[in-house]
Amino acid sequence: MDERFDVIVVGAGPAGLSAAYLLAKAGLKTVVFERGQYPGSKNVMGGILYTKMMDEVIPEFWREAPLERPIIEQNLWVLNRDSAVKVGHRGDRFTEEPHNAYTVFRAEFDRWFGTKVEEAGALLITETLVEDLIWDGQRVTGVKVGRDEGEVFADVVVVAAGVNTLDSLLPNRPQGGRGHRPEQVALAVKEVIQLTEEKVSDRFNLPSGYGASIELVGEATAGLTGTAFIYTNRDSLSVGVGGMLSDFVKANFNPHELIERFKSHPVIQPLLEGGEVKEYLAHLIPEGGYNSMPPLYGDGYVVVGDAGMLVNALHREGSNMAMTSGRLAAETIIEARKKGDFSKRSLKEYRQRLDQTYVIKDLRKYRNASRFFEETPALFHVYPEMAAEAAAILLTVDGVPKREKQGQIWRMMREKRSLWHMLRDLHNARRSLL
């Protein structure tokens, strides 16, 4: 192997592949290291890919990429023990190309993305673990890989190794030791459940070929701070449950049992009926937000995607942020090369560009959101219970006058949560979410 490159990309996920594609397109000598057998073999997400950010990397990718269904309907269901309160939006505008979002299988999509990166001229080396950075004083000059050849050098290293990026690959991160703290990551488990194309369309009331998403809170996570989801693929469903790792620990919950419990909920079970589990997956999501981001650049390196904590948990956005950060890192490196300057000062441009986009703007907007959720666990069991109970009271036709029902609902709410607490929650929600 020729051991000198312009750029080394560590990790073939959406962030690393986006960066590598654009770098190679611009003529930079680029190598991507991936520890899995193929790009995507280690990658997991709920399953929704946003078109715009991918389109900014590979225009009109949707004409040839392996996609499942364009999303035309999005729902939020609030579950209690035996019922659900549902809100959602179905939009005919979402049937037009280019679609807003698609369900995808990451193992398939990233594998395809990898071939595009190779076609663009980058070298993709799989089954190779990057173990460490190589330093020259304060400057990163290459990486050590778990192969006999050992060391590979480049002007810049793009760290795109995901949520479990080794500490050795994230210089100057604030907290050392074992990566993140349990309050900073969500643990999610997912199953791919096979049905038939017709059944998926019928059960979710979808025109042939189109898809829907459902996020669920409340009993869906047994009250853990987190959400569950059901996404429609072509002839299968992606079904998952995620919660803050700290909550799992506190509640002594087992994630596998949690997803089984979710699947057996009386509102959920009929949707999955007769389905066959094809794959079981688990992954961490870096949800620490703005306040937990590691430094994203330094002399000779940039950090992109999950490795940089670039996830907006509230809006289910992560892979799009990965792609945007990968693209901006590439654009910065291309500029830096023209100047021949890969110093921290030069690569700072990456962060400045990122600051101008929705990525940092949204992360900054929700900087206090994770603390709010952490400090308000009632959101995930008391309020869902309230909502379901209120709907049940209101919708039961039993001859009770409506004003009396309002009184009943109000009393029920105050039994579950004091007025003082409700007002405080509302105030905190406004402050940290709006």
């Binding site: 995507g40 089954e127 074992r178 488990v189």
Partner: protein, 146 residues
């Protein structure tokens, strides 16, 4: 499927089968209620008992692995598991989505072959007592769907 993959799958299958029986009885139905979520489990649990829920080993059998002959997960100090581990109920044994860890009464056993590489155990262990590495390049889990 190549011969290699078949061999991997076979290997994994054997290991899964070997442990399925031993674990079936004890691993089901340990779900505790959320400390602040009283009553969340009642009805649900009864239903769960009636319904045939899918066993974890059967699920892991669906996942494709290329199993390395050496572990990438180690308990640093079993003495810690014997002492403070007991107080917090051996977090790794319930946090792991793949059931890698098990408390035998004297030590934590580590079945790294089952690992789906999520990284939860490393972060969750209150004693920072798990030496967590990636499997060597090319080894470990290989998702088909992802």
């Amino acid at each position: 499927m190549s011969d290699d993959e078949k061999a991997d799958k076979g290997k994994q299958g054997e290991s899964a089968r070997a442990h399925r029986e031993a674990r079936k009885s004890e691993k089901v139905g340990q779900l505790a209620s959320h400390p602040e979520g009283d009553g969340l489990k009642s009805n649900q649990r009864e239903k769960e008992d009636q319904r045939e829920s899918m066993n974890l080993d059967d699920k892991l059998y669906l996942v494709r692995y290329k199993v390395d002959d050496r572990t990438h997960l180690r308990v640093v100090d079993q003495e810690i598991c014997r002492n403070s581990g007991k107080e917090h109920g051996h977090v790794c044994t319930h946090i792991c989505p793949a059931g890698v860890y098990e408390w035998t009464g004297e030590e934590i056993t580590v079945e790294y072959e089952r690992c789906v590489e999520c990284g939860a155990c490393r972060i969750a262990c209150p004693d920072n007592n798990i030496d967590w590495e990636y499997p060597r390049g090319g080894f470990g889990i290989a998702y088909k769907h992802g």
